[in-house]
Symmetry: C2
């Protein structure tokens, strides 16, 4: 029997749900330093991009593109950063991060630069809902 | 008239050619700390993944997968890191990096961690040639 997909406990703790896409679940990181989404393919056991098959990769890259367009439209960011690293949390997850030339880590990558900054009360959920509303044809899970 | 693609001068200076794929040119970074490839779509003016159209993205993700398989096979790495950041060099380029639990930046990302380490004489070109030979059906440009 195929094991069901279960979101990694650390990814779950560090983020809130935004929406479910065909392949991936989308989460917003609890870090007000950067509008920062995770795109997590719901495939049990996947660690590397090459653990997805060709069809799944084609879906994933379009979901990354859709999420990127929405994040850019909602935030008006200067640059997008897209990355699948997974050195700490093995479960395959793609970071899609809105970067600003004024942000805490610019022009470096965001990881291990400054501690996560809490959103003001309600702001995390409000941004997650706004992103979910802007994602075309998704089942929003943020409300 | 459409401007021809020209590799960014900094990317060119920091790397050597490995192979040309249908969409992307593949380069090996001059940093012996990590076997580190760049996959650069040959589309003039592209900065973000979403500057490629849907068909181009589908090709790119398969080229990333092919390059990842080859890099993993040749290096026996513990983990692959795949990232399109572009905060410093705007031209769209995807890092595909072989990571080891013993490397200089593990488990952090590689950027801005330790200075680039020169390869021993001939080792950079030898690795580039080996990667090119392992890439299926490519026009090797490393020799």
């Amino acid at each position: 029997m195929k094991a069901p997909f279960e979101l990694d406990a650390r990814l779950a703790a560090d983020s809130v749900p935004v929406a479910d896409l065909a392949l991936s679940t989308v989460r917003l990181m609890k870090d007000a330093n950067y509008p920062w989404l995770l795109v997590v393919p719901k495939k049990a056991g996947a660690v590397e991009l090459i653990d997805l098959d060709c069809d799944e990769r084609a879906v994933l890259v379009e979901e990354i593109a859709t999420v990127s367009e929405v994040l850019k439209a909602v935030t008006g960011c200067d640059k997008l950063n897209v990355a699948a690293l997974g050195n700490v949390v093995a479960q395959l997850h793609v970071h899609v991060i809105a970067r600003f030339a004024t942000d805490a880590a610019w022009p470096g990558p965001v990881w291990n630069k400054v501690p996560a900054l809490a959103y003001a009360e309600g702001a995390l959920e409000a941004l997650a809902a706004r992103l979910a509303d802007t994602l075309p044809g998704t089942a929003a899970v943020a409300r």
